[in-house]
Symmetry: C2
C-alpha cells in the first residue's frame, strides 16, 4: 500500500492558512457532541522514525479540550508486560465513553518494528495480526471509533531528518542507534509495514496512509480525516439509535472448535459422596493441586478458573477448597459484581482483561465475562445484537488466552430449584448467613426458566476444545468440590504434558 502514496504532495503556506482555519473550528466543535454522545475515540499514529508523529499529535490536540483526551505513548513491552497476553497492555489504555485517546505508536508495535527486531516467526505474526483485527472489530462493534494513521516518508528524507536532529545539541538525544539501523534497513521495514497495512486494513478500522514529507499537507490531511471520521461515526450512532431493537438471532456464532454439551435438564443431580470418602479424596486432590501449582509457577503457565452457576450453588465454598491448596503468593480470587460506572463506560471485557493473572499465576473468577450472555441478556442491560455477538467475542477472548499458553477451566455449578429453595431458606434462618441472601436472589429465582435457556445457549456456543465447559452436579457440595478439583488437576496435567507452547 505504501507505494501508492503521493510523496510529492505539497501545500503552500498561503493555501494552508486558508484551509486550516475552518478545519480547526470544525474539530473544536466536535468536543461537545463526542462527550454528549459518549463516543470513545482512538486515534493512533504509526509510521517511520522522524516521520513527524509527535509533531502531528501536537498539532491535532490543540483543537481539543485537554481534559477530554489523553496522549498514550507506547514503548516496547517491559518484562512484566511480556508475562501477559500481547493485547493485554492495550486493553488497559482504552478510553472511556466520550473521551479521546491519542496514541503515539500502538498495538502495531508487535507486528511492525518488533516483528523484525524480536525476530517473530511468520505464524506468530499472523496470529498477532488476527488478534489485532479481532480486537479492533470488538471495539468498533461495541461503539468505539478507531482512526489509524501511518505517516510515510522516503528513505532519503528520513536520513536527512535524522542527521538534522543529530546535529543539534538540544535534539541529539532523540536519535538512537535503533533509528539509524531502521533507516539503513528501510526496504526491509517497508516490506513488513506493507504486509501489516494490507492485512489490518479492515472496513471497520481502515488505515489512512498520510505523506509526512510536507508539514502543511500532512496537517490538513489529518485534520480532514479526523473530522470526517468523527462526524460519520456520530451520524451512524444517531441512525442506529433510531432503529427499532431487534430480537432475532442475526449473528451466526462461529462453529469452529465447538464441543457438544448436554442440556441442563439432562444432568443427574443425585451424585454424592459420603463424608469419609470426601475427606480422603479432598485431601488427595488438594495435595495433587498444591504440587501442580509449584510446577505451573516454575513453567510460567497461567491458569484461569471460571465459576458460574445458580445463586447458592456453592461457588464460595468450592473456591475455598481450591484456594486452600494454592500458595497464597501465586493466585488471586476475582469476585465479579455488577460493573461500576468506570467499568460500564468501557468495553465490557475491559475489566476481565485488567484482572488477568501474570504467567505462572492462577486467577479464580467468581462469576465471569459470561454475565454478558446471562444476566445482561435476561435483564436487557445490553441489546440482543450485543449478547448474540458476545458468543464469538468471548470465544476469541478465550482463544487469545489459550494461545498465550493458559489453562482455562470453566465450571457451571448446577443445582435443582428445590435444593436452591432449601438453601435460601436456610440462609434466611441462620443469622450468620443472612447477609448472603438478598431480594435479588429471589428475583433471579423467579427467572429460572429464562436463565436455563440462556445457560443452554451459552454451552452450545462457547464450549470449545480449548476452553470447555464442565457442568458440576452441585446438590451434594462434597461431590461438587472433589469433582472441580479433579477437573482442574486434569487440565493442568494435560497442559504440562503438552510442554512449551507459542508463549511470547
Amino acid at each position: 500500500m505504501l507505494e501508492k502514496v503521493d510523496l510529492k504532495k505539497r501545500v503552500s503556506k498561503e493555501d494552508y492558512k486558508k484551509q486550516v482555519k475552518p478545519l480547526q473550528t470544525a474539530l473544536t466543535a466536535l468536543d461537545a457532541p463526542i462527550k454528549t454522545a459518549g463516543l470513545p475515540v482512538i486515534i493512533l499514529f504509526e509510521g517511520w522514525s522522524a516521520a513527524g508523529k509527535g509533531d502531528a499529535i501536537s498539532h491535532l490536540i490543540l483543537n481539543f479540550d485537554p481534559r477530554w483526551f489523553s496522549v498514550v505513548n507506547i514503548q516496547p513491552p517491559t518484562e512484566l508486560e511480556r508475562r501477559e497476553p500481547a493485547m493485554w497492555r492495550y486493553w488497559l489504555t482504552l478510553p472511556k465513553a466520550g473521551q479521546l485517546s491519542i496514541m503515539d505508536r500502538s498495538w502495531y508495535q508487535e507486528v511492525g518494528v518488533l516483528r523484525l527486531e524480536d525476530e517473530v516467526d511468520d505464524l506468530t505474526n499472523l496470529r498477532h495480526m488476527d488478534e489485532i483485527n479481532s480486537f479492533e472489530r470488538g471495539l468498533t462493534d461495541n461503539g468505539y471509533l478507531i482512526i489509524k494513521f501511518f505517516l510515510h516518508i522516503s528513505q532519503k528524507e528520513q536520513k536527512a531528518r535524522l542527521e538534522k536532529l543529530d546535529d543539534s545539541k538540544n535534539t541529539e538525544w532523540r536519535v538512537t542507534s535503533k533509528d539509524w539501523r531502521r533507516c539503513r534497513q528501510y526496504d526491509k521495514y517497508c516490506d513488513v509495514f506493507d504486509q501489516m497495512l494490507e492485512y489490518t486494513n479492515t472496513p471497520n478500522a481502515p488505515w489512512h496512509i498520510v505523506s509526512g514529507m510536507n508539514e502543511e499537507a500532512r496537517t490538513l490531511d489529518i485534520f480532514r480525516i479526523v473530522k470526517e471520521s468523527v462526524e460519520s461515526a456520530l451520524k451512524l450512532q444517531t441512525e442506529k439509535a433510531a432503529l427499532p431493537p431487534s430480537e432475532s438471532h442475526t449473528i451466526p456464532p462461529s462453529q469452529e472448535h465447538l464441543v457438544s454439551m448436554p442440556k441442563l435438564s439432562e444432568i443427574n443431580l443425585n451424585k454424592n459422596l459420603d463424608k469419609g470418602k470426601y475427606k480422603k479424596q479432598l485431601q488427595k486432590e488438594q495435595e495433587r493441586l498444591a504440587n501442580l501449582h509449584n510446577k505451573v509457577y516454575l513453567k510460567k503457565i497461567p491458569v484461569i478458573i471460571a465459576y458460574e452457576g445458580w445463586d447458592a450453588a456453592g461457588k464460595g465454598g468450592n473456591i475455598k477448597r481450591v484456594s486452600e491448596a494454592l500458595d497464597p503468593r501465586g493466585y488471586e480470587v476475582v469476585p465479579i459484581a455488577a460493573p461500576t460506572k468506570e467499568e460500564k463506560s468501557r468495553h465490557y471485557l475491559w475489566r476481565f482483561w485488567k484482572a488477568l493473572p501474570k504467567s505462572g499465576h492462577v486467577a479464580i473468577f467468581d462469576r465471569t465475562w459470561y454475565g454478558r450472555v446471562l444476566v445482561e441478556r435476561i435483564e436487557g442491560f445490553c441489546s440482543a445484537e450485543d449478547w448474540q455477538r458476545a458468543y464469538r467475542e468471548i470465544n476469541e477472548f478465550e482463544r487469545q488466552l489459550y494461545d498465550w499458553g493458559a489453562v482455562i477451566v470453566k465450571f457451571w455449578l448446577q443445582i435443582s430449584p428445590e435444593e436452591q429453595l432449601r438453601r435460601f431458606k436456610e440462609r434466611e434462618e441462620t443469622p450468620a448467613k443472612q447477609w448472603k441472601i438478598t431480594d435479588d436472589d429471589w428475583r433471579n429465582r423467579d427467572k429460572w426458566p429464562q436463565y436455563e435457556i440462556a445457560v443452554n445457549d451459552m454451552f452450545q456456543h462457547t464450549s470449545t476444545d480449548f476452553a470447555p465447559w464442565h457442568i458440576i452436579e452441585g446438590n451434594d457440595k462434597k461431590y461438587a468440590r472433589v469433582k472441580t478439583l479433579k477437573l482442574i488437576n486434569e487440565a493442568i496435567e494435560k497442559r504440562l504434558a503438552e510442554g512449551k507452547k507459542h508463549h511470547r
Copy 2:
C-alpha cells in the same frame, strides 16, 4: 526490640489442637462483621528469610472467605516504580472498605533489607521511616486497621532451614544467594531491623514480634493477635459512631513551613492585559515553558500543577494554554470529578496517588485533593474531624512529593461574584456552551460565603514554602493565563537551579 522475644516458646501438638479450634472459629466469624462494618484491614508480614512468612499466611487465610481478601506479594521496586515516590506503589495496594489485604513483605522493604542492600544513607532512611509513620497514621486516622507482624528466628535456625530447602530438588529454587548473604550478615540486618521496629512502633500501628521457631506457637500467636485486633477495631468503630458529631476545630494544623497569604477579599481583580500585549506575552511564556519541559524531561523532574477556583473561573482555558506548550508525550491532564464508588471505598488520597506523574512528566490537576477541605467540608461529605485533619495530611502528602523532587505549583483562580454571574448567563445563552453549566453550579454559587471561608482557611493552613498557593486574578482571562504560565516557568527554573535533590 528483637532481643526481648522469647525464642524458646513451644506448644505441644496436643495443646495446639485444643487451642486452635476456637481461634479458627472466631476468625471465620469475623468475615461478616468486617464486611458489614466496611472495615479495611491490612495484615503485613515482615521477618527473616525462611522465618515462615509464607507458611503463616497460608495458615491464616484458611480462616477467611477467599473472595474478601487478597494476598499482596511485595518485590523490590521495578525501574518504573523507582520513578515514583517511595510510597506510591503501596498506596496502589490499599484494600477497599470491608476487605482484607494480607501482605507478604511490605513498605518496610525500603527501610529493612533494601536499606543495607541499596546502601541508603541515614538521612534518607529517616525520611522514609517518617513517611511510613505518616502513611500509617493517615490510614488508621481514616478508618483502616493495620496489623504488623515481624517473624523472628535465630541465625542458627535460619541457617538450618536454608540448608534444608537447598537440599531438596523441589525447593532449592527458593533459596537465592541473597538469602545466604543475609544469613551470613545476620547481625548487621539485626541492627537495621531493630532500628526500624523501634522507630515505627506507633500506638496506632504497633508491631507484633512473633517467634518463628515453633510452628504451633507461631500460629496460635498470630491467630490470637489478628482476632483481638479486629475485634477491638470493630468495637472502636461502633463506639465512635455513637458519639455526637463534633463541629469545633479540635486538631491544630502544623505550623511548620507555612507562608502567609492574603485573604480573598484583599485581591485586586482589576488587573488586565490588552490583546496585543497578551498575544506577545503568551507566546513568549509558552516558548519558555516548551523549552523548560525538555529540560525537566531530561533531568527526570516531576512537575505537579494543581488548579482550584470558582466555577467558571476559567480553569479549562487556562489549562489549555499551558498544555499547548508541552510535548504531548510528557504530560497528562487529570480532571477530578466526584469520587466513584471504587474511589470512595478507599482513603481519599488514593485516587491522587494513582494519578501521580512519572518523574520527568507533568501532571495538571483540574481540581484536586483540596476537595476534602472545600466541597466535602461544605456539603458535609466528611466529618469535621476529617477535614480538619486533612490540612496536615495534605501538607504531608505534598511534602513527600517535594522530597521526591517534584515541582508543585498550586493555583486558585479568583473571580468576583458579578463576573461569575456574567459568565453563567453567557453559557446559558450560547448553545455550544450550555453543557458547561448545571444546576450544581447555581447551587454552589449560593454557597459563596461558606466557600470563601473554606478557601481562606485552606490558604492559611496549606500554603507552604515547598508548595505555595498562588491566587490568580481571573476577571480578565488573558491576564490570568499569562500569570499562571509565568509562575509555572519560575517554579521550574528555580527547581532546575537547585539541581539534583534526594531523588530515589
